[in-house]
Assembly symmetry: C2
DNA sequence: TTGCCAAACGGAACGAAGTTCCGTACGGTC
DNA sequence: GACCGTACGGAACTTCGTTCCGTTTGGCAA
């Protein structure tokens, strides 16, 4: 995840043309398969959709988490970038926090099964945490600290814990018409507020 | 789940002695296996521990959910029974609600993986919902309504949604030292309070 | 006590899915 | 154009849930 970045170019051996082509094809196929069948779609299905062997998937993306991260990297980046913007736009940091959490919820609930896999901390999902959580936690912390500094929320809640919690609340969203995570996330954010 | 109850005895064909013995052995083995390896322990492991074939497990407990329900039935019953007691004991219904939710959290976080399976609504987990959720939702609703009637919380939150949410927040508890669901559950309950 | 039979048992067998491995193909370079 | 190492494909292996069926056995009636 840290090497083979375009840009600096130091010690990046430049992959073969067919490898680059396959990686792009796989990302497209995975994105489509995720939409259609959720992020837990069988590896074979993605391979078939991309017209490659399963070995090729494992070469490019050793774990399912690597593939998920690659597919959703742009959206995570957009979400992370929106944090400071919201903070600058809004007068009340608590408002910015609520909106930002809302964006995160929107992202999660539109991806079948993504919240489920976000919760795991097994070795296989190291990459997920490294890329998703580690990217978003600092943003969330900034929002929390701004709201706490403004005296709008009680301080002390850990950003990681909040994000994990919100992620957990989104588990199973969409598969149960009686359950709407947004209600509970709103309550959670309301609970933060100083009475 | 509804038949073969001791008691009334109408149309209960009385199972064979070996069947009853195996069922008890299986419950013990499953309870032990759940503690050691979580509720997702492989069926074969439970069978081996009980000294029976896998077919015997499926005969007594067609789905994993049936087994889980049978193992934890007593604890669920105790939790459900505690609701009215707490309500009678406490002056403030919101306090009773908070304590009761705390009991539910305690139950969930001490069972590896139980919260995970609680979230599913796939056909296989019908029994889980029928026994766990359907037993607890009315109790939770009673507490919510009492607190709303006392003017302590804003009305309108669905008991099912709250229980699902609390269950979700407990997903992954214990496998991540940085995540303590109790913090967030407390915030959630605090968020219910009328400001 | 003995014999019968349906209930119950055990575990082989099957299917789905993840993961590994290795012979083959091919892109890039000399 | 030849060479070499990267990359490919998919068969094979593993794990796990689930089903199925030949065998055993408990309960009962003769």
């Amino acid at each position: 995840m840290a090497d083979v970045e375009n840009g600096s170019g130091a010690a990046a051996p430049r992959k073969r043309a067919d490898a680059r082509r396959n990686e792009a094809t796989l990302l497209d196929a995975a994105a489509a398969a995720f939409v259609e069948s959720g992020v837990n779609v069988p590896v074979r299905d993605i391979a078939a959709r991309a017209g490659v062997g399963v070995g090729t998937i494992y070469r490019h993306f050793p774990t399912r988490a690597d593939l998920i991260v690659a597919v959703y990297r742009h959206q995570i980046e957009a979400c992370a970038g929106a944090g400071p913007v919201l903070l600058a736009e809004r007068d009340r940091p608590h408002d910015a926090l609520a909106r930002w959490i809302g964006m995160f919820v929107d992202f999660l609930v539109t991806k079948h099964g993504l919240a489920e896999v976000l919760r795991s901390d097994a070795a296989a999902f190291q990459a997920l945490h490294a890329s998703f959580i580690d990217r978003l936690v600092p943003v969330c912390r900034q929002l929390l600290e701004a709201a706490a500094a403004a005296g709008e929320i009680r301080p002390g809640l850990d950003a990681y814990e909040l994000l994990r919690g919100v992620g957990n609340l989104c588990v199973g969203a969409g598969s149960d018409p009686r359950y709407n995570p947004r209600h509970l996330v709103e309550l959670l954010i309301a609970g933060l507020r100083i009475q």
